[in-house]
């Protein structure tokens, strides 16, 4: 059973190449959804743009950096108040956004002066902040503003500031993925190696591809501190601009999100010879495996085993309590890309939950290779799924719970299906041992919500006495 043409896609038969139903005896040599391809216009795709991939996902996480968005106001407005990545300095990154507020005259005559003025104003208004990312957007890229020249000029006039420019117009590439790529490569080529870190441990690493969603980075950092490993740079959860400039001094690159940040790890290997170690940070099995791999690299296996034993003792009973209650549930995951393969096996192993449908907004071929290898038979693997497809897939697989974004969450609520925020989480962090208990708890609370039964009840029909009695 190969690729699937859903009924709702009869008028866009190209979609068949993007939807795969895995059956027994097949593997990814036979069938693989087409991915990272152009979006079909008018399909109600869920995809974002390259600009948001750069600014919202990676750069905007930094806790000490002005995010100057060179373009009309909307690009700034829209990538503000849409993420949950706190910091240990009062969430500077979530409180502010900066725009050059381009108007028509700048489109006609060029926006470089506007950008220069906005950069200087921003530094003047916030004199304690000395670091800045500048992003291009659709119109500033189209008119060809030389943002690098402007940044260079400001840096020559203000020797205490440093500015990174990221050329990531929304139309670049086919999804937010292009923005991840552009930022990664720009950063390694222009900024890594320009600051020397203070080394405090004989074990050093960069932790790459984790954005401190609801404190993920901070939770995992407790493990690294216990193990005596110095994290030179967090790319980019709770991170600072200058930490990221000193990534070249780490002994190891540990990569969680290979999609958004694998590029920089590859370049750090190529340019500085730092080995890359890919891990999964969600789930007990995976987290333990990750700690073992990292500790093996540094030759501190015993410390790792002690940490794992402590964490299991502390959290495993709680996880098992939830597992008893959620096992057998059918789950769908509609998120960006990597969380499909990070989660499908971990919820199966740790919670006995079966993932029955997955859709990725911006995953590439390697993401689908991974997820199809790790995922089950009878599961749908979808690239760039759209709204009508989601309705049809729900009918086909009847999930008990969906991990997706809040907007789709509101949609499936009407279908009496609970959702857990698969992007910003409900009540995270979700990484690490404690985090996965949080995930299990949120899943349990979503599935066992009494309102679901009430929603399914038509008060014009017979009363569900059993439920009413239970409620009393």
């Amino acid at each position: 059973m190969p690729m699937v043409l859903l009924k709702c896609d009869k008028d866009i038969p190209e979609r068949e190449k993007h939807i795969y139903l895995k059956v027994d005896g097949e593997d990814s040599r036979d069938f693989l959804p087409v991915s990272n391809a152009q979006t079909l216009p008018g399909t109600l795709s869920e995809r974002g743009c390259a600009f948001c991939g750069a600014k919202l996902v990676i750069g905007g996480v930094l806790k000490d950096t002005i995010q100057m968005i060179h373009g009309p106001v909307g690009c700034a407005y829209d990538t503000w108040h849409t993420k949950r990545y706190p910091t240990d300095n009062g969430h500077f990154n979530m409180k502010y956004v900066w725009s050059t507020d381009m108007k028509e005259s700048h489109i006609v005559f060029g926006g470089e002066k506007r950008l220069e003025k906005s950069i200087n104003e921003a530094f003047d208004e916030m004199p304690d902040v000395k670091r800045m990312f500048v992003y291009t957007t659709c119109p500033t890229a189209l008119i060809g503003d030389d943002v690098k020249a402007v940044a260079k000029k400001v840096m020559s006039e203000r020797p205490d500031v440093d500015i990174f420019t990221c050329e990531c117009p929304g139309f670049a590439g086919v999804s937010q993925s292009k923005g991840h790529h552009v930022l990664n490569i720009g950063w390694i080529n222009e900024k890594v190696g320009t600051v020397e870190p203070v080394i405090t441990s004989k074990y050093t690493m960069n932790f790459i591809g984790d954005f401190n969603i609801q404190g993920d980075t901070q939770l995992l950092n407790e493990y690294w501190e216990k193990l005596g490993i110095q994290v030179i740079a967090h790319f980019t959860g709770n991170g600072t601009y200058d930490d990221l400039r000193s990534m070249h001094r780490a002994q190891l690159n540990v990569v969680n999100c290979a999609r958004s940040s694998g590029y920089i790890a590859n370049e750090l290997k190529k340019q500085y010879g730092i080995p890359r170690l890919d891990i999964d940070s969600w789930g007990f099995n995976y987290m333990a495996e990750a700690i073992r791999k990292i500790c093996a690299f540094f030759g501190i296996e015993e410390k790792g085993e002690a940490l794992i034993a402590d964490e299991y003792a502390k959290w495993k009973p709680q996880l098992d309590w939830y597992k008893e209650r959620v096992k057998g549930a059918k789950m769908a995951i509609w998120t960006g890309g990597p969380r499909l393969w990070h989660w499908t096996k971990s919820v199966e192993d740790d919670l006995g939950v079966q993932v029955v449908a997955m859709s990725s907004k911006f995953g590439h071929q390697e993401d689908f290779e991974k997820v199809i290898a790790r995922g089950s038979q009878g599961t749908y693997y979808i690239d760039d799924g759209n709204e009508l497809e989601f309705f049809e897939i729900i009918e086909l697989v009847k999930p008990d719970i969906i991990f997706t974004g809040p907007r789709v969450g509101e949609l499936v609520k009407k279908l009496h299906i609970p959702y857990v925020n698969g992007h910003g989480y409900h009540n995270g962090p979700y990484m690490g041992f404690e985090g996965f208990v949080n995930l299990a708890r949120d899943m349990y609370n979503a599935m066992y919500n009494p309102l679901l039964k009430l929603a399914a009840t038509d008060i014009r029909g017979p009363a569900n006495l059993q439920f009413l009695e239970a409620a009393e």
Partner: protein, 462 residues
Amino acid sequence: MSCEITTKARAGIINPMYDCQPAGAQYAGIGVKDCIPLVHGGQGCTMFVRLLFAQHFKENFDVASTSLHEDSAVFGGHQRIRDGVMTLVRRYPELRVIPLITTCSTEVIGDDVEGNIAACRKMIKEEFPNRKVHVVPVHTPSFKSSQVGGYAECLQAMIKTIATHKGAPSGKINLFPGWVNPGDVVLLKRYLTEMGVDGTVFMDTEDFDSPTLPDKSIHTHGRTTVEDIAGSANAKASVALARYEGASSAEYLKTEFGVPAHIVPTPYGIANTDAMLRKISEITGKPIPDSLVRERGIALDALQDLAHMFFADKRVALFGHPDLVIGLAQFCLEVEMKPVLLLLGDDNSKYKKDHRIVEMKNTATWDMEVVCNADLWELEKRAKNPDHRIDLILGHSKGRYVAIDNNIPMARVGFPTFDRAGLYRQPTMGYQGAMLLGETIANTLFTHMEYTKNREWILNTW
């Protein structure tokens, strides 16, 4: 005592108050039934705006994108317009309206929107001879105006495209409230019903607050129909409640079809609501009913308990949509608060001449400041300045940290209010809206008094 009307001196923006034009156009578009706006631009222009609507309403709204990629940026996005329109028409058999909303990128590229729409119309006619789908050109480059102008532009564009001729007089009135909440729309419709007036609210967003039902059916969509829009040309009169979001449509209907246009004060507060009802009564000849006199009285009764005891002399900063900010400043005066700072967030040069602002300027007996083209950094700077005491902030959720970090009580109002539950359901307009807002403000102040232990004992006996 003076009122100063200024413009932000900085070129750039730190923390914007408004989104860009295409966002406003999308909001007007989703107010129509059997309508999916198609945004011609990058995918982020749609994806984030849908998220924004979902944050505010806790609902999903359908908006499509032409998904502009690099090749279109180089060679033009013609084919993507046509593919986008036809894909929507084919996959959504109920679809009757597609506002085609341009963005900065497609306006810079200069895609021939009208030409492509003409081609789409032909294709639709050939493939679906029994269907009529209105594809509406909406020019909303993001580098002009803001969500405020974008809303007005899309509203007017849909009227232009769909209301093409004058038919028999309907006797109805067109009501243009601007970008308001479903709670306001429900209130306005109720007022019309209570007055016995046959009217149409553009846009009817009542179902933006939609139920979870046993049969799992989804009813989250606008209620304004193609027939409502077509019929706007036959109305007895138009009443625009929002100068910057509705007046242009009322004026268009006047110029094109001779429908008398009345721009009334935005009905925030008692006196503004009085003016709206009087105008509707005057146009239709229907008296203002006892029920509304009673509702007015209940609101007055409630507000009088609060005004001189708790509200008097409170220094208020307001930000948000222009008609909302101006209307709420007038409401503040009614309840003895002092609107000391009004922030209007785009470069519309008309704000400074708005007669409501001029009137406040001329009569202000306190220090008052109106900042045009403002951002929320203007608010934050003043909030941090001890010489510029602010007792209360009235605005939307994007300003939440100014309140949190500076320990200033803030009542959420306007759009978006994602950090408070259910506000979209409450009216802010009308007598009931004024009462609810007044009570929300009071409760916000009370909670703040308690948490800061600042004369909280006053409430021991209130």
